[in-house]
């Protein structure tokens, strides 16, 4: 059985940004579903936790939101990435990759490499 992982602080925000970047404006439910899909249900996220993160990103100016009508004629709040959000995503992505690379290097290290 696959073990579900708790989402690290801040990672969820990055996932939201990337999702909006790839798929364009989405409402909260869609974002939650996409993240579940992409992470292959590996993450145990209560969908509700998304909303405080969305609000925070919005207050930071990384995303903006408006009421609109969804495909199935429902009124829903759609979130989209702003220019600040794009920039933020780029830096975050860069940071993340760097961290991942450094960690990866540490895992690959063998005793004879350090001799």
């Amino acid at each position: 059985m696959k073990q579900k992982k708790d989402v690290q602080q801040g990672t969820l925000a990055l996932m939201v940004l990337k999702t909006l970047d790839v798929l364009g404006p989405l409402h909260g439910y869609a974002v939650a579903r996409r993240i579940e899909q992409i992470s292959g249900d590996l993450l145990s996220v209560n969908q509700g936790t998304l909303y405080p993160v969305l609000l925070r990103l919005e207050q930071e100016g990384a995303i903006a939101s408006d009421w609109a009508t969804s495909d199935n004629n429902r009124r829903a709040r759609f979130y989209r990435l702003t220019r600040t959000g794009h920039k933020l995503l780029e830096t975050e992505k860069h940071d993340w990759e760097q961290t991942a690379e450094i960690i990866a290097r540490f895992f690959e290290v063998k005793a004879e490499d350090l001799a």
């Binding site: 936790t49 925070r56 207050q59 199935n72 429902r74």
Partner: protein, 887 residues
């Protein structure tokens, strides 16, 4: 950047009261609806679909809380909520709140007030250019026996100053000033007025960096004997000349001589004190001979240090010049050395010590006040223990509970602080008016730093008063209160111990204050009851100056003096009247070196004897009832044109003519007496020139001899002397309507005024001490009352089992008196150290005065016993049936 944006958004939401509750609710609703739809599509039953959707979404309340936390400034919202609740709690018990706020207001107000004075006087820089570079230079006599008379900081002789300025290079410049006073009249017979004046060298104002507000300051050319320029201070400019700038360039008359007003000093300029009305050039009216004296000390030297020169270096140059001068005039009182102190220290020298003591006293009182409020809060938190227990059982964090309780003491402190600051505004003004010695050059007023200090004080007081009760009432034991039955009361044991230890500290601080106050008071009483050597009751003194222009000969002056005495003596109710220049207790007029003609010449290098000088007419001594010990008083013939005579005090005879008959010996008095030899015709008893100082050898010159430009009329009356003042003044006006009088005082007033500072600090410290004693006894009463209520059940059982009423009373009394006794012991021990601080302010009083220590101990015990008596008595009256039933 992101953090800033987030903060701004939060602040905006907070400020506009924006809530996204509605939006979140709608979004959540849609979310759940969509999830449910999807679940149905995958084949779930509608009911199950909805349930699964909820599960996937998570706990709605938690999310809503996190959403809100994200949205706004949670801490501040919580604080506001705490504040609302605390405010309501305080309003619900107005009695407690008012007392607590009043205590805080008094304590914070007094502390702020004294801090305002202290900051202005000791901490704020003087309003001059580079004030740190300014120092006062004094002559310094190395003989340590003279230090008691402040000869170690001796005022400067004019010739010494001129030498210093010309021959040393360590200072950028040196300036000099001296005291003077003038009879100010207008050109057209305006009211005469005696004005306090200073004569400053022309470079004084440039040296200080002060420019005239209107006109200009003195020029070097005006600083001469016939220099007739005058500068006005803002005070007289507004008061007498109506703030009319056209006065500059006009003439005013000083002692009948015309002086041209050349400028007005700025409003803030109150150096060296606020009473100065006019400035004239230093040399104005001074003969070149007078300016050439090395042994006539009456001037004050201000110097500005060169930035690149150290003070020690600059001063050693001046010291070398002074030592040469000393070697040149070995027989004269010319100091060997010089000393300096910074200008700001110089201004504050008389008040630093009392200020520190007073600040210590108010700090003590503030501590007591805070402890008292803490004590009251502990009692209240005991009453609210159930509430706190329930809140903590429901999951309130300890920090939250402490914060909520602290808010209460904070509100008390803020309200008290606000009232206290108001109070301190009034108190500061009162203090400045009452405390004559306070230097005012910096201007004493509340400024931003004082406000910050007051705010700091408020928070410190809130923490001090609130933290202990808050910490003790929360925490692990909080839950225990829920489990404990009402009967046990054990949960409060620790809290009672806490209250008792608070009380112990409170009482200890009170004891320290009481002992300091007692010592200062006793010292003041010693001063008050000192025998100055003459009668002090029913004596009126009036001083007047005879303008030199109008009374240019001794004959004219004496005609006025004798005419006045004649008139006054004939008034009904006047016992005696005499003429002098000053009375005992009024401070010294001056001193001078003298030689005794009949003695061999004093070898060079040995200093000449020095005596204070005074003046007396034939009736001066009988008026003041100073007894004649030998020889005779002056007669009407001891006056100008007759053989020169003097009367000396017993101390002079004993000190300088031991074992000899002083009568018939001749004194040669340097600067004051001119070249004449004065024959001693009488010896009178010693008087104190100043209360609190040892008596000094004194020479009395005949008041009718020489050419004194005025005098002090001394009148002994049959009844209240002040009632005669107008009558006597009318006699002066009848002789010369233009003659201003000054210093119309009774002798007792003069002596009291000279004790003003001792009286002020003693009475202030006493007021603080009494207030503290009251606070401490209220605290004691509160604790014991609380204890009695706590132990009602226990006492009921004791009585039911046969305990006698007086046994119960003893038990309770002992419980209350124990912290009082511990506090007393602690306080006595602390006092032994604290009295060192007041030691130098005491006169003929030992710092460890056993009478004061026992007196304070007795008073404290009596007050403590009284405070404990009422609750103890109430405890002994408990009806056992009722007490047991009420559980």
């Amino acid at each position: 950047m992101r953090v800033m944006r987030r903060l701004i958004a939060r602040i905006r939401n907070f400020a506009t009261g924006h809530h996204g509750d509605e939006r979140l609710r709608e979004e959540m609703g849609q979310h759940l609806a969509m999830q449910t739809e999807e679940n149905i599509r995958t084949g779930m039953a509608p009911e199950e679909a909805r349930r699964q959707a909820r599960l996937q979404f998570g706990a709605v309340e938690t999310i809503r809380e996190r959403y809100r936390a994200e949205e706004s400034l949670q801490i501040i919202e919580a604080l506001l909520r705490d504040m609302r609740i605390s405010g309501r709690t305080l309003l619900r018990s107005p009695g407690f709140s008012i007392i607590a706020i009043l205590v805080m207001a008094l304590c914070i107000g007094a502390t702020t007030s004294l801090f305002t004075v202290m900051r202005s006087v000791l901490l704020r820089p003087l309003p001059f250019r580079d004030p740190d570079q300014l120092v006062m230079i004094y002559e310094h006599f190395r003989d340590p026996s003279k230090n008691a008379q402040q000869f170690n900081y001796n005022s400067v002789a004019p010739a010494d100053f001129y030498d210093w300025r010309a021959q040393t290079h360590g200072f950028e410049d040196m300036a000099v000033w001296r005291w003077w006073q003038y009879n100010l009249t207008g050109q057209h017979g305006e009211l005469p007025e005696l004005v306090s004046a200073r004569a400053g060298s022309w470079n004084l104002f440039p040296l200080l960096g002060v420019q005239a507000a209107i006109g200009r300051t003195f020029t070097e050319n005006e600083d001469r004997a016939d220099g007739a320029a005058v500068m006005l201070t803002w005070n007289i400019f507004e008061r007498r000349f109506g703030g009319d700038a056209s006065i500059v360039g006009k003439q005013i008359h000083l002692d009948g001589k015309p002086y041209t007003v050349i400028g007005v000093l700025p409003r803030w300029f109150t150096y060296p004190d606020a009473k100065v009305q006019i400035w004239v050039p230093y040399a104005s009216g001074m003969s070149p001979e007078l300016l050439g004296y090395h042994d006539h000390h009456f001037s004050y030297v201000v110097a500005r240090l060169r930035p690149e020169v150290s003070l020690a270096n600059a001063l050693s140059q001046v010291g070398a010049v002074q030592y040469r001068s000393h070697m040149r005039y070995l027989n004269d009182p010319v100091a060997e050395d010089v000393v300096s102190r910074t200008l700001s220290k110089d201004l504050a020298k008389d008040v630093t010590k009392p200020l520190v003591v007073l600040l210590g006293a108010v700090a003590c009182m503030l501590l007591i006040g805070c402890l008292n409020v803490a004590n009251l809060l502990v009692a209240r938190s005991a009453a609210r223990q159930k509430e706190i227990s329930i809140r903590s059982a429901l999951g309130a964090q300890r920090v939250t509970l402490i914060r909520a309780q602290l808010m209460e003491s904070l509100l008390i402190s803020i309200a008290g602080g606000a009232a206290g600051v108001m109070l301190s505004l009034a108190a500061t003004r009162w203090l400045v008016n009452t405390w004559k010695d306070l230097p005012s050059a910096q201007g004493i007023h509340v400024d931003a730093v004082v406000m910050i200090f007051a705010c700091g004080l408020v928070f410190a007081a809130a923490l001090l008063a609130g933290l202990l009760p808050a910490i003790s009432s929360t925490g692990k034991r909080a839950i225990a209160a829920l489990q404990a039955s009402a009967r046990s009361g054990t949960g409060s044991q620790a809290r009672t111990a806490l209250r008792k230890s608070l009380l112990t500290i409170e009482i200890a601080a009170t004891v320290v204050l009481l002992i300091s106050a007692g010592l200062l008071l006793k010292s003041f009483w010693r001063l008050r009851t000192t025998d100055v050597g003459c009668v002090t009751e029913n004596v009126l003194t009036i001083s007047y100056n005879l303008p030199a222009k109008k009374y240019e000969t001794p004959e004219k002056a004496n005609a006025f003096n004798e005419g006045l005495l004649e008139r006054v003596r004939n008034l009904p109710g006047i016992r005696a009247a005499g003429l002098g220049f000053l009375v005992p207790g009024a401070g010294p007029m001056g001193d001078d070196a003298f030689t005794i003609r009949e003695h061999p010449a004093i070898p060079p290098g040995q200093e000449l004897p020095v005596a204070l000088y005074a003046r007396a007419d034939p009736d001066f001594f009988t008026t003041l009832q100073i007894p004649l010990l030998n020889g005779r008083f002056f007669t009407k013939d001891d006056r100008a044109g007759h053989p020169e005579t003097v009367i000396v005090s017993r101390q002079l005879a004993q000190q300088y003519l031991p074992g000899e008959n002083p009568l018939g010996k001749h004194l040669h008095v340097g600067a004051v007496g001119g070249d004449a030899n004065y024959e001693i015709v009488g010896v009178v008893a010693d008087t104190l020139y100043q209360v609190g100082k040892p008596s000094e050898a004194t020479i009395y010159f005949p008041a009718l001899g020489g050419n004194p430009l005025g005098g002090m009329l001394v009148v002994r009356t049959a009844s209240d002397p002040l009632a005669f003042s107008v009558l006597v003044q009318k006699q002066i006006a009848a002789l010369d309507p233009e003659m201003p009088v000054r210093d119309v005082f009774t002798l007792q007033q003069i002596i009291e005024r000279s004790l003003g500072n001792a009286s002020l600090s003693a009475s202030l410290v006493l007021a603080f001490a009494v207030l503290s004693l009251m606070l401490a006894s209220v605290g004691l009463y509160g604790v014991l009352s609380y204890l009695t209520t706590q132990r009602t059940g226990e006492i009921g059982i004791r009585i039911a089992l046969g305990a006698q009423r007086d046994q119960v009373m003893r038990l309770m009394l002992g419980d209350g008196m124990r912290p009082a006794l511990y506090g007393l012991a602690l306080g006595l021990a602390a006092s032994a150290g604290a009295v060192r601080l007041v030691q130098s302010m005491l006169y003929e009083t030992q710092p460890l005065d056993p009478a004061i220590f026992t007196g304070v101990a007795t008073t404290l015990l009596a007050v403590a016993a009284l405070a404990c008596m009422i609750p103890a008595w109430r405890a002994s009256r408990i009806d056992p049936m009722q007490a047991l039933r009420s559980e």
